[in-house]
Symmetry: C2
Amino acid sequence: MASNQRARQSTQAGAQVGARVRTSGQGARMRDVAQAAGVSLMTVSRALREPHKLSEETRKSVMDAVHKIGYVPNSIAANLASNRSNVVGQIVPSIQNSLYADTVKGTADVLRKAGLHLLLADSGSSPQEEEALIGAFLAQRVAGLILHNTDHTPKALQMIERSGVPVIETGDLPRHPLDMVVSYSNAEAAKAMTLHLGARGYKRIGFVSLDTRLNRRARERLRGYQAGLKSLGLRPDPMLVMEVAPGLTSGAHAMVDMITRSPDVDAIFFAGDVLAVGALFEAQRRGWKVPDRIALAGFDDLDIHQHTVPKLTCLRLPRLEIGRRSAEALLARLRGGDEAPRVDLGFEITQREST
Amino acid sequence: MASNQRARQSTQAGAQVGARVRTSGQGARMRDVAQAAGVSLMTVSRALREPHKLSEETRKSVMDAVHKIGYVPNSIAANLASNRSNVVGQIVPSIQNSLYADTVKGTADVLRKAGLHLLLADSGSSPQEEEALIGAFLAQRVAGLILHNTDHTPKALQMIERSGVPVIETGDLPRHPLDMVVSYSNAEAAKAMTLHLGARGYKRIGFVSLDTRLNRRARERLRGYQAGLKSLGLRPDPMLVMEVAPGLTSGAHAMVDMITRSPDVDAIFFAGDVLAVGALFEAQRRGWKVPDRIALAGFDDLDIHQHTVPKLTCLRLPRLEIGRRSAEALLARLRGGDEAPRVDLGFEITQREST
DNA sequence: CTGTTAGCGCGTTCAA
DNA sequence: TTGAACGCGCTAACAG
């Protein structure tokens, strides 16, 4: 049972952490399996990766030894030797935000079916943090990167280019993508909602988003809103544009502030996060009729939007699908594909009771 | 600029994926840096990991070469050589569930500050899937595992034991933990809420949870509810106990069903997911007064609970803190600690307007 | 403070 | 169909 010739284990462990028992790395190596099965190292390697190239007989005896010993392959060594990797890195702005969670889920599912795994981190929307993470992920020799942000530091760009790893950007449709893109247009989506509100007769349409200086997606949405107003022939009014922090409370405050300052506002488009839900609850508390006194529209279609009273009009973005398609595009490239697709998955407007 | 002596690159790429240009793995190696700086391999290695052991002069010249060449260390090779790992694996029941997202966030933050990274996957609450993931993560030679589920297959247990990796369980306080535990008691929490409802005068207290057969946490909560009833001297009634699927809609239906079948029910404790919120919205739609007609209580303290009308009474569980402390316990072990802490982070009851 | 030697556990290559 | 030699890129151990 005990593998011989391994004085290194006890030595190392003793040197490193004192004379502890709980020594990590007890695992058997391929060589141990080979000995147990009476074959060479390579035969074990093949039995695990290319079983069809072995005779049924030897394959079976090898697998028996594998199970008996409880051998767990060392894919880190495999990766080093083969110069491949079965890990993909994904960086989202926030791990806690459920919208990104959908995308991560889509990615993880597809990758997993292909035998790949997901290294996940969040950048907090900071390009500097993203740069550090990209460096760390490249050091892990990830097979690919999936980035939500489309703004990257020069150093990040340089590292990515030098590494040659395939990259997917998922947060918007950038003019000059790094490589592959799987996303939707924030500007088009915001414009579409603005036009939708206009078509329903609203004339004084407010716009509330997250910080447009730090967040390109918020900036694009603002641009779309402005384009929408223009198409509608409505006059832009700085008093009807606000930027706030994420959160339900922010949405509530934004609505109250805007109505207080501009009592003639008749609709507010909350272009992000859970702002619209927060506003709706505040309207309930204050007894403001939605949509009669004030119409409210949100961005993503959160589950809750169809359960509130009234139900919330919003955009529906293909978050999960973005994750899936990103992973699929990555897989295609890893399998030898040479394309750099730019996939626009679009969006839908979901008209409900709040507008 | 171009590194010589690397015919292997073009050869391999050509063989593998046809005569493509986009060859991955262009990265410089440590040897290239050593040559450029006119030092040995080891000096570069030290400059990167133990800079204080070098003279200021050589350190600087090495770092210059590193930056000039754009060298990105290969931590996969480093891990293999040093028999260490800078990746931790975490398996949660669902990536999309925001509660687990909090835990993941806590873990990721602490790990990242320590230079470790997070391999994330979801098991969908299936022990079989968890087993497969554990195998895959062990193959990646993760430095540790953080598992939410406390039920594991025999094979999973065997693999973990053989590997010797430290493990944290976070979903409950198991009687016989695998190794370390950072969690809270589902049974105690559910009992506490039941007692709380009893103390507020409710006599016919319903209980709605997720599937107790597949989910030990739901089972523990049911046990706590039953213990609470007993303490209160209330008679258990099978009609007041339901198991449903997750989701807002499930909560709504559960409430309606229970009230229809047992009109005398005066409070419902929704022991999981967003069930309570869904029920509250349904009550709003039907004009049922909360808490006068029916009191509603939830489990976790979701953001939304303090924004609904009325605000929702619930338990508050330290999800983020569980993630943080898990990572910290793991780090302590990796740094040579020998303890197997069992951390009970407790819970709080947040009394609001709905009960 | 710096370099040399040996080898981490596996895959690739080529020969048998 | 199987095996031996070699190396992936780096670090540990020791020597100077």
